[in-house]
Symmetry: C2
Subunit: 352 residues, 2 copies
């Protein structure tokens, strides 16, 4: 007798590099992993900023989606059913079990992502966010909402792409307390400072980061430390359950750093990087973002494309996790890993 | 109404630095973590190589145990009940729910640890091993036995002390395949090579490693790559389910390395380390141990006290985990983390 695999229906809000990679791989490289979980995925809706909205309860064809996007056309041609008037309307009505939140962030408010997550949980969808905003600004509230609704809110891709930092702390360090952390969490500034070591000018290095698709939509948010500040707040919120507003982070960017500074550090066996630090003392959490000279034997002193997070714990000493040459592929993997975690829940939502 | 916390009874085989630290901390720093799990631990038996065997169903007093050991006396004075004739007899009769295996290893056969694990699982005890031998030589068999008996066999401390490498792969990288790994897994050789960079002679650096308690009982097993070979086999067995005998590992030690080699590497921006590599192609696994010149921006090029493992995955890119300045404290933590995993099982063994 042949049993059909259960199908989980997912909807995407935001369709940039990560979303495109995800949809492409769900139809390809990720299928083995999903099959091993005894499941298949159907993408039933995509809401984009500039290519319209498409919903199809029977599932959107990934090749058609990618063809339309790449030729600059709207997804509207693939839409089935009543007109969807807005992204919020999409989230409230799309026939899906899981919402994947991938919109660009307004870093000062964590919106619209936080609202999207809240709306989806409220109607009892699981939510996966690769967006640091909701984690930094609203994790405790969103977790509580998810618990009340019996649904999952997962966000492994929000910081350090596919390197499993939230899951490492939650699943692999039982009984420990994180005392402090420090990390090179902003790929754009690491790449710029590393290319300056090679003799490149900062502006040219920035263009390289933009070509690689790792820079923020507005690269000033990378250079002035805003991106790092929000990531530090996201980690603090997840590790300690304490909300720190990014505006409260002491923040210094890399704007004042010259080629001479970079070379002088190297002569001293050090490498300049923009470092995010977090420290907890009782209920007080302090987060800072600033350039630091890092000794070459430190886990944070990797190549320009690497990111690293070092955790100081009470019982397990100091442990670092390093992602080498992170790309959107790894962020898409983080969404897959969250999806697999949902599929392993006893209460996973499934299409009827 | 007052409920007593459930008590889990543990027995230790082997009582070196890790065992002593574990017993000390179970009565101290680890109590908070156990209380948060709603459990308490009672050490009901300890079998040592040169300080006798003690069993007490009511629990051994940790301060008395440590006082006797430190003054070089036998634990026999604390023993209650019939005489225990041997370590095997101890394992077969000790009134405990969990056996913690910490004996020194015969690296050519993985014994007596493998037999100890097998005997304990056979009588339906959970087993925690901080011993790489059983993992390298017998993991698949021991896992199958544990499954048949409905008990856990856990071994996070077998490689890289408290850094959660087995759990990282099992719990945090769902759906990925490990394609290859490379690591600085032998603390003694990393420390020696790093101290040679500082100008120390190899023999003096070895004495330092021995004073720190990180060298193998027979330090030749560190220097000639045996320890690394067994660790490589343990990782391969765990990641790929394929057994490779350590005798089949292509192995080169650090014996031939001179101070001049170390300095020349540094001048080229490289650091010499004994590197364990593993690679899978289909059902073929190749493991090698050899000194390598590592670029300073590589996660493996840390300080002498650091160890690192880099994983090349199919879907999540390259991820490294680094342990800074590993000590027996971290290995004791690995045992605690395995113990907490057992306490979270629905079928955890408890004292009646």
């Amino acid at each position: 007798m042949h049993h059909r695999s259960p199908t989980i229906r997912i909807a995407l809000v935001g369709f940039g590099n990560v979303g495109k990679t995800l949809v492409e791989r769900l139809g390809g490289a990720y299928q083995r992993a999903l099959r091993e979980e005894g499941a298949q995925v159907r993408v039933t809706g995509i809401a984009t900023r500039s290519h319209g909205i498409a919903v199809d309860p029977q599932g959107l064809d990934s090749r058609s989606v990618l063809r339309l996007i790449r030729s600059g056309r709207s997804l509207g041609a693939l839409h089935r059913g009543p007109v969807v008037k807005s992204t919020k309307h999409f989230i409230k009505t799309v026939p899906a079990d899981v919402l994947v939140e991938l919109t660009p962030l307004d870093p000062k408010r964590g919106e619209p992502a936080t609202t999207h997550v809240r709306l989806a949980l409220a109607r009892r969808m699981h939510v996966i966010s690769a967006n640091k905003g909701p984690v930094a600004f609203a994790l405790a509230r969103l977790r509580a909402l998810a618990r009340r609704k019996g649904r999952a809110f997962l966000y492994e891709g929000a910081v350090m792409d596919g390197a499993p930092i939230f899951n490492l702390v939650e699943r692999c360090l039982p009984g420990t307390k994180i005392l402090s952390f420090r990390g090179t969490l902003n790929g754009t500034t690491s790449l710029i400072l590393s290319r300056m070591e090679d003799g490149l000018r900062a502006a040219d290095a920035l263009r390289e980061a933009q070509a690689l698709g790792i820079a923020e939509a507005d690269p000033r948010h990378d250079l002035d430390g805003w991106d790092g500040a929000i990531k530090g707040c996201a980690l603090a919120h997840a590790f300690w359950g304490i909300r720190v507003l990014p505006t409260r982070v002491r923040r210094k960017g890399i704007g004042g750093i010259t080629a001479r500074d970079v070379r002088r550090a190297l002569r001293h066996g050090e490498r300049l990087r923009l470092v995010v630090r977090g420290e907890r003392r009782g209920q007080q959490v302090r987060i800072t973002v600033a350039p630091e000279a890092i000794s070459l034997d430190d886990p944070l002193a990797g190549r320009g494309g690497d990111s690293a997070l070092l955790l100081e714990t009470d019982l397990a000493g100091e442990i670092a996790i390093v992602e080498r040459e992170g790309t959107v592929d790894q962020t898409a993997y983080a969404v897959l890993s969250d999806l697999l975690a949902i599929l392993r829940r006893p209460d996973r939502g499934e299409a009827r």
